[in-house]
Amino acid sequence: MYGKGIAKGLWVTLKHLWGTYAKDIKKFPRRYAPGGIAKRPDYDLYGIFTLQYPEERYTMFPRFRGALMHLRNPETGEPNCTACGACERACPHGVISVEGEGKGKDRKVTAYRYDLGRCIFCRLCVESCNFNAIEMSHEYELARYKKDFILQLDDLLKIGDKYGIHKTGEAWGVTE
């Protein structure tokens, strides 16, 4: 019979259409998730699936790779970075450039330039760091109005203070 396949397809689509309205009636009158943080959707085939950004946002998983950030020593408040240059050598694109002064145990970082426009967020720099100094944050809203993509040490420390992580690789179950 010629129209049977088309009729089956139309029935599947109608179930989806009805499913979105049924789910909306169940959630009525709340349109956006409370507090603006939405859960990842549940496992069923029907219902509205899209996220109403910017009223709702997802929380990222702990391992999410956003922009780079610097970590501080929790007691002294100084950045952990010793300007060893391992991250500069590990980056595939030449995004980082580091300068430091002092020798041996007293070596401290003076300038740290990170080019947000060229970073590919691969995390190879974090994996090469031995001093608990850098980690990937959860910042993904990185658009800017001006071309000020090069972040200095202070901007990176500010992002790091927002997230309050103290050890590199906390989310990965690795403690070095």
Binding site: G5, G9, Y43, R63, F64, R65, A90, C91, E127, M136
Partner: protein
């Protein structure tokens, strides 16, 4: 007597349906295709040459960007090639994790392929949205494990870059019956559709002997009837410990390729079930120095990526940078039969046939 002339049309690099910047110069006689010349290279980024200036570890993010939809498979192929070159052993838990990621990638890719085949055919975005909804759930799993949804950079030479988080396996176990439901729903919705059958049966026929002559691999080859799968022919990793079939179809046209991808999704779900049950505890990677210096020599390793046979050919001269870094692109080699498949069909069929071969331009042009 009437005389007809052929006209030349350019389905140019900017076109909504050519899956990327791909250009085809068609010579038409009325609506029938008389000649087809594919031209690509609009997306060439020089990945092979760039990787030759980097160490083996730094080149892993570049393999992500080769075929950006199945990035875990590309990482996998590269890791297998480097391990063959340098003689590195991989712990058993890492092998299980790699197999799980590879099969999830196969699901992701086939969902996208089926969705966009129907987008080209004209169903206004509904199959795409259904397929993408399920794909989002799998991409959430990727983000949980590796930190990024598409450019995963997770499977490294020596193992994987981090152990699976604690929520991964329970979530995957909950998701597998749901994905089987989804494949069943797609079969209900699309497989019997008479209009789709009228557009797809008998269109783009690729005979089995011609497919072997053009060295086509992947679902396109298996839909033409040749039972060849790298996972069974030359097993890599631990695939010889799983039970799965290699489905084939007989007809070799667009409809057969669509059914082939659905069957392969079912087989992947079978492998996932077995892997999730049997995964052991253990190490997730062997320690590999970041400036790896493999001994002098060459190695070619190939895997069954969702698009075909993906291989890496590495030549080392003892230094931390590879001397030659080359990949065998499945999309490019599958495209070589496009002209043969399209001759004699109408203009509207070219888009359907291109959609059924399932190429990614980043893999064609590298």
């Amino acid at each position: 007597m009437l005389k007809t002339e052929t006209i030349t049309i350019n389905m140019g690099p900017q076109h909504p349906s050519t899956h990327g910047v791909f250009r085809m110069v068609l010579t038409l006689n009325g609506e029938t295709i008389v000649d087809l010349k594919p031209m690509f290279g609009y997306l060439h980024r020089g990945l092979e040459k760039t990787s030759e200036g980097r160490t083996y570890l730094q080149a892993v993010p570049f393999t992500d960007r080769l075929d950006y939809i199945c990035s875990m498979s590309n990482n996998f192929a590269y890791a297998v090639a480097v391990e063959k070159l340098a003689g590195i052993e991989v712990p058993i838990r890492a092998e299980y994790i790699r197999v799980i990621m590879a099969e999830l990638t196969r699901l992701v890719n086939h969902m996208l392929a089926i969705g966009f085949l129907f987008n080209d055919l004209g169903a206004w975005y509904t199959p795409v949205v259904y397929a993408f909804r399920e794909r989002e759930r799998i991409l959430d799993l990727f983000e949980m494990a590796s930190g990024s949804r598409m450019m995963c950079n997770y499977i490294r030479p020596g193992g994987v870059s981090g152990d699976l988080p604690a929520e991964f396996l329970p979530l995957l176990r909950k998701m597998i019956p749901h994905l089987e439901n989804f494949v069943r729903e797609i079969r209900d919705y699309l497989s019997d559709n008479e209009i789709f059958k009228a557009r797809a049966v008998g269109v783009g026929f690729l005979p089995a002997d011609m497919a072997m002559a053009y060295s086509i691999t992947g679902p396109v080859l298996r839909a033409s009837g040749v039972k060849y799968d790298v996972r069974k022919a030359e097993p890599y990793s631990i695939y010889n410990q799983f039970e799965f079939d290699v489905p084939t179809q007989v007809a070799g046209d667009v409809y057969a390729r669509y059914l082939q991808r659905l069957d392969e999704m079912d087989e992947s779900l079978k492998i996932l079930r077995q892997a999730v049950e049997r995964i052991p505890d253990g190490e997730y990677a062997t320690k590999v120095p970041s400036r790896l210096r493999p001994p002098k020599g060459e190695a070619y390793a190939r895997i069954e990526s969702p698009k075909g046979e993906l291989g890496f050919y590495l030549v080392s001269d003892g230094s931390p940078n590879p001397y030659r870094w080359r990949n065998r692109p499945p999309s490019l080699i599958n495209l070589s039969a496009l002209r043969e498949m399209c001759l004699g069909h109408k203009v509207a069929d070219v888009v359907t046939i291109l959609g059924s071969i399932d190429i990614t331009l980043a893999d064609v042009d590298r």
